[in-house]
Each structure stands twice: as C-alpha cells, then as structure tokens.
Symmetry: C2
Subunit: 357 residues, 2 copies
Amino acid sequence: MGGRDARQGRTTVTLEDVARAAGVHYSTVSRALDPTAVRRVSVDTRKHIQSVAKKMGYQPDMVATGLKRGRTQTVAAIVADLGNPSIAPVLRGIASRLEPAGFMSLFAETQDDSSRLERILNHLLSRRVDAIILTAGRVGDSRILRRFVGRGIPVVLALQGVPGIRLPSCTNDDLLGGTLAAQHLLGLGHRRLAQLRGRADVQSLSQRAKGFSKAIAAAGATEVIIPSTAPLGTADDGRRLMRVVLESKRAQPTGVFAHHDLMALGALTLAEERGLNCPRDFSIIGYHDLPNLERLVPALTTIRQPLEEAGRAASDMVLHILNSPSRQPRSHRLAPTLVVRQSTGPAPEPVIQTVRK
Amino acid sequence: MGGRDARQGRTTVTLEDVARAAGVHYSTVSRALDPTAVRRVSVDTRKHIQSVAKKMGYQPDMVATGLKRGRTQTVAAIVADLGNPSIAPVLRGIASRLEPAGFMSLFAETQDDSSRLERILNHLLSRRVDAIILTAGRVGDSRILRRFVGRGIPVVLALQGVPGIRLPSCTNDDLLGGTLAAQHLLGLGHRRLAQLRGRADVQSLSQRAKGFSKAIAAAGATEVIIPSTAPLGTADDGRRLMRVVLESKRAQPTGVFAHHDLMALGALTLAEERGLNCPRDFSIIGYHDLPNLERLVPALTTIRQPLEEAGRAASDMVLHILNSPSRQPRSHRLAPTLVVRQSTGPAPEPVIQTVRK
DNA sequence: TAGCCCGTGCCAAACGTTTGGCAATTGCAC
DNA sequence: GTGCAATTGCCAAACGTTTGGCACGGGCTA
C-alpha cells in the first residue's frame, strides 16, 4: 500500500479493475477511454477515470477489442525477402505512417514461396489483421489473393504489381528509370549504348529495358542489343553479360546500363580485368543504389528509387481504404532519380575500342 | 448447391456454422478439431466433422481463441534495424523453427529507439503475443524489459545480450571470433598485428578485441595498439583508422583485423590508394561476411557467424519455455567460423615497410 | 434383470471488450 | 411545485471460442 507500482505478478489489469478503483461501472470506463464516444460521459468522470486508468497502467486488450469490434488496429506487410536491401526502407516508410494513425505494423516473409504466402495470409486472416500491404507478389499469387480480397480485407500492393488481379498499388516507374539512364549517357555524348538486362518476364525489368531503348531511339543513337538476359541479377550475371559485350565482333558500346547494381559491379570488374578503364574508356550505370557500394572505385552511377516514400504511399492508401471503404484509391507510380557518381563520364573520342586480351 | 466454393462474400465461417452443417453441437466441433481433446468425441463423428469443416473452409478465429485461452500462437521477433544484413538470416531461422510448431512469427523494428521498443512491446502485450525474441537490446532497455518479463511473457535474447537484466539468450561467441582472426594471421607468419576496433562500450566488439589481443599475447607476437575506435563501423571509419596505422612512426603491422567488413573495405581501399598491395604487403581480415562483398578484389577473408542457427536456437528456447515454463533454459553461445579468401596471405619478408606517399 | 460405469454429446459459463437500450438523476420552464 | 427533456450511468447481450459439468444411453458384470 502506498508503494510504487502496487500491482504485481503476471495478472493483467482489466476494465473492471479500473471501474472498481474509480467507483463506476466498467462500461462507463470503456466509454470514458474511447475518444469516439466522448459525449456519453461527463467531463469530470471522464477525467477521473482517465487518471485512475493511467495510474493503474491499464491498457485495453486488443484481443478482446478485436473480437468485439472485428478489427485489431494492426496492418501486416508481407515481403518476399527481408535480406533484399530495398525492403527495409519500404517497411520503415510503412511503419512511419501507420504508427501515428494508431496502427501497429507487423512484418512477415514469404521467402518467395507461394505456399508460404498462403499460410501467412491464413494466419493473418485468422488473427483479424485490418489490412495487408504486399510487396511479394508472384505470378501465381492472384488466385490466392482473390480469396482474401473476397473476404473484405484490404490488400495494397507496393513496389511490384501482381499480374492477374487488380489491386490498388504503389510501384516504381521503371520505364522512367530506364529513360533516365539512357538520357544521362546520351547527355554525356555516348552514341553507342548497350544494356545488361534482367529477366524479361519480370515486369519492372522489361519496363527498364523499354524505357532505355525508346530514349535511345528517340535520340537517334544506336543500341547494341545483347540478346541474353540475367536470370538472377547477380555480379556473376553481370560478368557473363559483359563478356558477351566485349567479345562481340561489332563495334563496342561506350555506355552500358545494367539493370542491377550488382550486375554493374560484376561487369565493371570484368572490364577492368581486361584492361579497360571506367569511366575513361566506357561508362556504366546501375540500378537500385545499393548500400555499401558508394565506396567502390569508381563509385557507381545508379538509379535510386524512392523506397521509403513507396512505403508511406502504400500505408496512406491502406488508411484511406480503412477510413472510407467506399471507393478504391488510385494507384501510384513513383519517379526514380538519377544518382551521378564516378562510373559515368564523357564519351571517349570516337575511335573504335579494341579489347586488349 | 453443388457449385464450387458455395460460400461467398465477406462473411466468415464459425464453429456454429460447421456445427449446423454437421448436425452436432458447436462444442463438439471444437473438440473434434482440437487435437489435444481427442478422446471426448467418437472417431467417426470426429472424421465427419473434420471433413465438413474442411469443405466449408473453416479456420478457427485466433482472436477468439486468444481471448479464451490467453495465448495466440504468435511469437514476435523484434530487431533494431531490418536493413542490417545479418538480421534476415536470423529471422529466417526463427520462422523455420516456429512454423512447424504451429506458431506464426511476426517481426517488428525498433530503429534502435528505446521509446519505440517500449511502444512495440506494449502493442504486442495487448495483442497477447505468446513470447518475444529480441535482437535489439540497448543499454537502457533493461528497465522496460523488466516490466514485461514480470507480466509472465517469455523474452529470449538473440545475437546480443542486454546489460542489466538476466534473460535466456543465444549470442555469438565474439571472443572466439577475435581469437580465430588472430590465429589465422599468426598461422600465416604475421608477427606484428593490429586491430581496427569498434566501440568499446558494445559488448560484442570489446569481446572481439579481447579475443584477438589474448591470442597474440599467447603466441608471443606483437600487437600494435591503435587507440582510437570506430563509432559506426563504416567504411569511412575503416579508412580513418587505417590512416592512423599507416601514418604512425612505428614499425607497421603486416596483419590487420577489422571489427567489421565495411571497415576492412575502407581500410583496404585507403591502403591501396597509398600504394600497398593486399595480400602481398599486408593482410586484412574482416567480420560478418557481408553479402555482395565476395566479388571484391581481393575478396575479403572474414569471420562468419551462424546467424540462421542463432535464430533457430532462440526459437527452440522459446518453444522450450512455452512447453515447460518451470525452468529457464541455459543460454547458448554460438561459434563463428573463419572464411578464408584472398585478402590474407603469408606475411611479407621481415623488412620494415615504408608507406609511399 | 438390475446396477455400474464409461463413452458420447450437449449445455452454459467464461475470456475482456463494445454498445444499444433503459433507468435514474438533474436542470429548466411553466 | 409539477412536467418535461436532457444528461449521465448501468445493464446485458454480443463477438467466437474453450472447457468443466452433466445427462443420456449402451455394454458389461453379478
């Protein structure tokens, strides 16, 4: 009695405890603490109850609330791969928006496995999560997702769309990204350009390719087509594709666009092993602006996507849907930006480069 | 009637729906579906009910279950920074263990902010999460955590301990890591060694330093002490500390141990800028085995920690506590391993190196 | 054939909230 | 001083599940 933190042990303090302590009925406590039901309880009882509740450390049980109200003030973000360095900023953007709105954000990982996605969605549904933000869509997932949107739980897509289902989404403008890459190289005087492409069946990558090609065509410059593509977008892929470029009999491109920073990295090291100097002999530009790569020599020019903003925008959509479920929000497309570093420079004098073996 | 997926709309199917369809009381359905209550219902009613439930797509509502049972079959893992590349494998290890045990694992991020940690813990508590795995401990957090262990919810620490509170934990053996680094360099014939240290007030880092120093002393070799430490462990820090080494008037070390791969990276580029060749003139070894760095030239020799195993071990502890809350499990300490690549080699001939400016 | 016990299924009370409805109280105008 | 409305607080039913207890019936033993 009179001690600090009188309550102890594993017991949890309920509405009824607060009511007893405050000398009112527990439903009055519930009303006093619910900001939307202000007018049902007088202002001084309200104040009194609030102070008692605070003193007792009362915290509403979201499980009970969830059962009664049908919503749990929780939004889940599902990602394919937590190890992907692009993901953390997105999740941070999500949390930054949801938290002030009174929602908790929880994260789960599919490991790019559709069956795991299904299990996660089942779990979340049975835990009555209020909405889902998905950055992990794969081709076959529309069937699974359809079951859930049918259940009335809002699903918003971030970063990538899911083919086969129409959902509000917030993606990056990869077409513009490819265009920016091309325009940068063209602006430096390069007239023969090539791209090291990622998988054609990934929409974002094919968009990058398209934006790049169109900008080159529009400027009347030449694109040296490399037919093969990179299955994974790793440094090894980059090396392999760059080898194709360098061993081609045709005139070499002086500007290269890699669809992924790691590919650019691999391409760069291979070219330097073969005696070429970047950016003197050729320029290269990557994509993603991966962390920890700024320190490379030469530091990589790249395309940066507004990841945190993508997370924020996706959360805003979710909040919008939860507040006014009447109408679906419009999908966004966010603009990437060019980050110029040392791996791109003026086009070399127009002498056909020969590879020194 | 006869159609596929007769049920539709946003309605959810409850125990009572199943009971009506199966022609039994809903409590019988509950028992038929609960594997621990097998013996209260005959085997054929059981089978019948199960098939009906499956056909109707019944899924128990964990919110209602949670309210009644007090547990939600959910474990949360809290991390400081989702962008830290060491984290994803740990979380994957956690999920891999929890999932087959019937638990869902959810992730949350503190952004290394104690107040956010407190808010997250409150949220999780009010959502009746069954246990918490924390990899985000900071010095001041013991007070916050104490409140939660008092509430009877198991907390297990992974990767790093939290000073000031005794909790079952599963950490990496940094002392051994430092020892391995030293022994590797000593085995290559290096006799003058130095370390680029991280913050002394981070326990894991001071342990690395200690292991390294002790192994050198035990071998009768010389440690060139660099007094300053790296506040962040970035490449910039590495450059700065390496500059101190190279500009010292004393005889240069030939083997260097950086407490973080990125520091090693910075140190390496600085040394090469100053005309030194790695591994001919000096060897360097990092820590963490960061992804995407294998491709560097020279590829970094480093210490790899068993991250996924740390996640698995932490989950095992959680499951153990949940199954038999009587006794606290013993804390683990996991052994890191040495990954030899190209940045370490035989010690150069014993000629005092001079830095070419 | 009577008595017991066990196997089976139903009832109803919780878990901690929210919330519509109603009763009690107050303040006001006449 | 009475009637009325407005204000405030209480009751109780729900949300979907778990689970102790009880009733019923049938098979066994005596």
